[in-house]
Symmetry: C2
Subunit: 217 residues, 2 copies
Amino acid sequence: MKVVIQAKKNLLESNTALANKLRQNFFKAGVTVFNLMSSPGAGKTTLLEETVEILSKQHKVGVIEGDVATDFDAERIARKGVPVIQVNTGSTCHLDASMIADSLDNYPNWQDLDMLFIENVGNLLCPATFDLGEKKRIVLLSTPEGEDKPLKYPLMFQKADMVLITKIDLAEVLNFDRVKVCSDISKLNPKAKYLEVSSQTGEGISQWLKYLVPGTT
Amino acid sequence: MKVVIQAKKNLLESNTALANKLRQNFFKAGVTVFNLMSSPGAGKTTLLEETVEILSKQHKVGVIEGDVATDFDAERIARKGVPVIQVNTGSTCHLDASMIADSLDNYPNWQDLDMLFIENVGNLLCPATFDLGEKKRIVLLSTPEGEDKPLKYPLMFQKADMVLITKIDLAEVLNFDRVKVCSDISKLNPKAKYLEVSSQTGEGISQWLKYLVPGTT
């Protein structure tokens, strides 16, 4: 058991070192990087489809899609006319910094981007541990998952810069307790920003875009 | 990197060896063990609450709850009058066989149980890799997660004995494609049983109970 823990510690240390190097490179190139994380099915790809469709009219936007298997999500993003790299992680349940570095090697002129969105593997735990060199961590929690999840998966919420409550249009029919979830998140992470959104009704989307590109009206 | 892979392989081998030993012990004691797995918020605890409330009238039923943090789920099960052990896995994103062995050490007279339900950590990937000595693997997929998830997280579905599509009462409002999800699962795993259920409306619950206790009417 001791060997495993040691191996993991070294793995995390080398991941963080590489992530810091990536962050410097992104900063130098003027690329703002967002790491989107959530459970499977919380609506990351749907929100990204909508986001890149709007932002790509005025900005150079790119996407890296992380999935255990398939390139379904990359296909969805590519249909919006935005360059996208699909990373299949196989047996690994999260993206890590080396996967992002490899992606950039295959991403022509990534330095010209204004914004790069990284959609992590659907998993509310492990992705929180692996820095990808991002500027901001965006965590999505969908109303069907239930308001108890921040306390049950605290690390993800503690390390978030922005928490999006998605599928907020379903809150009422699901008896989702908006007050409790907001209160729990603010206790776990008083600095996190918090926003309720719905890709169905458009609620909160303009605030989300303002968060991504301050000054947008 | 090589060290890490090797460590994981040894970890998996020792986990499987312990799981096989547990399985023998469960078999000798006449305890049927079910390992419930899904994404966070797919409805494992809600289904278990309902299940143990009904089955405990005629059978000796026990529960082991796996969560990264909190004992909320154990509290919910305990309210049904069923003995329950909460395992907090901390930074580990799944239960493993050693955690089950430790739980049994703290579970008075587990040998007297007819059935033991293990609720795994909410995660659609890693729990699939760790045998817990169960007889049957039950995988829940909730309609809000979307019908694309079996192909995106294939291992979990390939190793399932039973796939439950939960929150089926929401299928219509969410445009959930029941035909596609059933077709994809049957291709990934032709031997898996398949059932649509709703804890809200009761749909499929009697068939679920029949699956657990063949001969139940």
